[in-house]
């Protein structure tokens, strides 16, 4: 179980958004998604896993980064990104060696989706997000992960 938090913590992603404007960084972030989307899901498991680790759901990533969409993404884009990631990360379809971590990844993806697909929650999140001019340090602001951080330190 602990492998989850470990693999996330060492994700090699450069610090996103730091010092850069949103449009610039979101353009950068969006590239790998397009590349990924054009590949087929079943056959390119290497591409998949490298994409995932590259994208890295590190604790410093924003909800937009988790879904791999620009911050101005439409609801349609958010939905299709969620669905695309579900096709890869859901434990039912994930490779057997990643079964345990895929549940955590999927929960993060779903939490990001449920915030960004709800206009009120998304506006709320955007307000906090933009005020700070940087991503939230933890993925707080949505229901599932508000208090104690079970993923990182408690018991598995």
């Amino acid at each position: 179980m602990l492998s989850v938090s470990n693999s996330i913590a060492v994700a090699p992603t450069a610090v996103p958004f730091a010092g850069s404007s949103h449009t610039a960084s979101s353009r950068v972030r969006f590239q790998p998604l397009n590349a990924f989307a054009s590949t087929s899901y079943a056959s390119t498991e290497n591409a998949t896993s490298s994409y995932l680790s590259h994208r890295g759901m590190a604790s410093c990533s924003s909800l937009y980064e988790i879904l791999g969409v620009p911050s101005g993404a439409s609801f349609q884009e958010v939905k299709s990104a969620y669905r695309r990631l579900a096709r890869v990360c859901h434990p039912d379809v994930a490779n057997f060696d990643r079964k345990d971590s895929s549940a955590d990844e999927f929960m993060k993806i779903h939490a990001a989706y449920s915030t960004l697909s709800d206009p009120a929650k998304r506006a709320d999140y955007d307000r906090k997000h933009l005020l700070r001019h940087r991503p939230l340090t933890t993925a707080s602001g949505f229901s599932g992960y508000t208090r104690r951080n079970w993923e990182t330190d408690q018991c598995w």
Binding site: A42, R83, R87, F106, M107, G144
Partner: protein, 572 residues
């Protein structure tokens, strides 16, 4: 997919075979065990195929006949007449009985069946028996289901020419986790490994997702999704689901279900035709059973006819001197069962409300199950949605088994070159899980309709000064009070550092994985420290066994409120 570390003794025989063929994943078969009928389907490499029994039937009656030495089920045995099933020797409707205690109203309603259902109203497993050579021979719903599953398995093995081990079973939405363990137990007794237990409408949703994908290939990833409402009503249960589908991914947005079905329609109608119907069978004498069987068959036929004609003549001689001659109109049938139909309606509206979906957003309305051909049911659904037509692309009696077979193929890791198996169901929790706190209240930790896998936690605190122990009692359900919910298990946290009441922070975390296994973690958090004072507890639920009906009461009697917890107000 956490496999249990142990294997049940009856599983042993097939273990070796499974390992040797590990390179080629065995395709799990899909089974839809209905209260009255059952069907079995499998992915044959290019599509889903329903298997037929030796009498060329796709739909087999769910019953087990106890005769002489060997019991035989509806898969293989042939009934010369419907009355034979009602002689007391056959056990049926096991899906309404499995995993229920003798205080359950559904069990009480089953007492009017021809076989013996005895209740003592103390919260234990009801006594069930079949009449064999004038002797009531005791059995259990698990045993009956296992016998039936053994027949199904044998039938599938003969046809597919391979050993069958993995299965996907469909289950009612309203089944508690305890009931699921009973289903798993019956499967283990039959030498079957449960790959997935799928709420029936979600199996239908998967079939719908595949159909949508086949018709709209360009849909992939475009984000345009179709919302469908699935209404599934059979003999024992009525289930509703709202699903959002696109690109082969079916996201279950909400689920609702209740133990109402054709059996209730039948019993209400029998009571209507013969007001003292219940007392007729009070002692289960042989001639009483016969009269009841005659009434049941006549009523059933009448209800079936009322789906196609507006009135029906019931003419039955009960053999005990009383005769029933009556013309029953369709409106009369609908009036007698108004409560059942109202309940169906409320399940649909509740499901739509929970999914936050407006009726105009729903693209397709799918009605399946034996009761979906009843005109009143069709009309009430169409009326809610202000539509003219229901979805036509599915066979109402086969859809659930087909969906289960698809899930079986997907979960077995089979891929299809044409993309017909690029499917995924994102399930939601049908019932909330939580613990007892704030007195006798049920505090949900993972609410109903939460996307799975899911993990949530809540902080609780003590109610007494220097309270060093706390009882975590886990329930599942929708009621505000714990008594209205299903008990799943309980355990105690000890070694809470002494402190004034309200100070210790006791964290309870619940985790449901994609295969629907529930684990509960609990422990005391230490402020300003990342290490807990005492080891956390991890408990797989449910832990309760038979007779759980009186567990909660016994706990209360022994401990009162001394080990209670209350919720902590959320700091924002």
């Amino acid at each position: 997919m956490a496999e249990p570390a142990y294997i049940v003794a009856s599983d042993n025989e097939t273990t070796g075979e499974e390992k040797s063929s590990a390179a080629f994943p065995e395709i799990a078969i899909g089974i839809d065990i209905g209260t009255s009928q059952c069907s079995i389907a499998v992915w044959n490499g290019s599509q889903v195929e329903l298997l037929k029994n030796t009498r060329n039937q796709k739909m087999m009656q769910s019953f087990v006949m106890f005769k002489d030495d060997t019991p035989s089920g509806g898969v293989s045995s042939h009934l010369s007449h419907e009355h034979e099933m009602l002689s007391g020797a056959a056990i049926f409707n096991m899906k309404r009985l499995i995993g229920r205690v003798d205080t359950d109203p559904v069990v009480h309603a089953s007492k009017s069946l021809p076989f013996l259902v005895q209740t003592l109203d103390i919260g234990v497993r009801p006594f069930i028996a079949a009449l064999v050579n004038n002797v009531w021979r005791s059995t259990t719903p698990e045993e009956v289901l296992a016998i039936f599953l053994v027949e199904l398995r044998a039938m599938a093995e003969v046809q597919l020419r391979r050993p069958i081990r993995n299965v996907v079973l469909t289950i009612p939405v309203s089944f508690s986790r305890f009931q699921l363990t009973r289903i798993e137990r019956a499967c283990a007794m039959a030498g079957l490994q449960v790959l997935r237990l799928m709420p029936e409408p979600t199996a239908v949703a998967l079939l719908y997702a595949q159909q949508q994908q086949q018709t709209e290939h360009e849909n992939m990833g475009s984000g345009s999704e179709k919302i469908a409402l699935i209404f599934n009503m059979g003999a024992g249960y009525c289930d509703v689901a709202v699903t959002a589908t696109a690109g082969g991914v079916s996201q279950i947005k909400s689920l609702a279900g209740s133990a109402i079905g054709g059996e209730d329609l039948l019993q209400n109608m029998m009571r209507h035709l013969l007001p003292n119907a219940e007392s007729l069978l009070s002692d289960h004498r042989i001639n009483e059973i016969k009269s009841m069987a005659l009434l049941r068959v006549a009523t059933q036929e009448a209800i079936h006819k009322l789906s196609f004609q507006t009135s029906v003549q019931v003419d039955v001689d009960l053999g005990n001197g009383s005769k029933i001659r009556k013309v029953v109109g369709r409106e009369e049938f609908e009036a007698v069962n108004q409560k059942v139909f109202d309940r169906c309606e409320s399940l649909i509206t509740q499901c739509l409300h929970d999914a936050k979906v407006e009726i105009e957003d729903v693209s397709d309305i799918i009605a399946v199950g034996g009761c979906s051909c009843i005109p009143k049911i069709k009309n009430l659904i169409l009326k809610i949605f202000k539509r003219e037509e229901l979805y036509k692309g599915m066979n109402p009696s086969e859809a659930a088994a087909c969906g289960a077979a698809l899930e079986g193929a997907v979960a077995s890791g089979v891929s299809d070159p044409f993309g017909n198996l690029d499917l995924l169901t994102i399930q939601a929790t049908p019932l909330a899980v939580g613990i007892r706190a704030d007195g006798n209240n049920f505090i949900p930790i993972i609410p109903r309709n939460t996307t799975m896998p899911a993990r949530r936690d809540l902080i609780f605190t003590t109610v007494h000064d220097n309270q060093t122990q706390a009882l975590i009692i886990v329930y599942e359900g929708e009621g505000n009070k714990v008594e209205e919910n299903h008990l799943l298990g309980y355990f105690k946290i000890t070694g809470i550092p002494p402190a004034p009441k309200g100070v210790p922070e006791i964290s309870v975390c619940m985790d449901i994985d994609a295969s629907n296994a529930l684990r509960v973690f609990a422990g005391v958090l230490q402020p300003r420290s990342s290490h807990p004072a005492i080891p956390f507890m991890e408990v797989r639920m449910p832990t309760v066994d038979d007779g759980h009906g009186w567990c909660a009461e016994a706990l209360h009697r022994a401990h009162g409120a001394s080990l209670d917890l209350v919720t902590v107000q959320k700091k924002i």
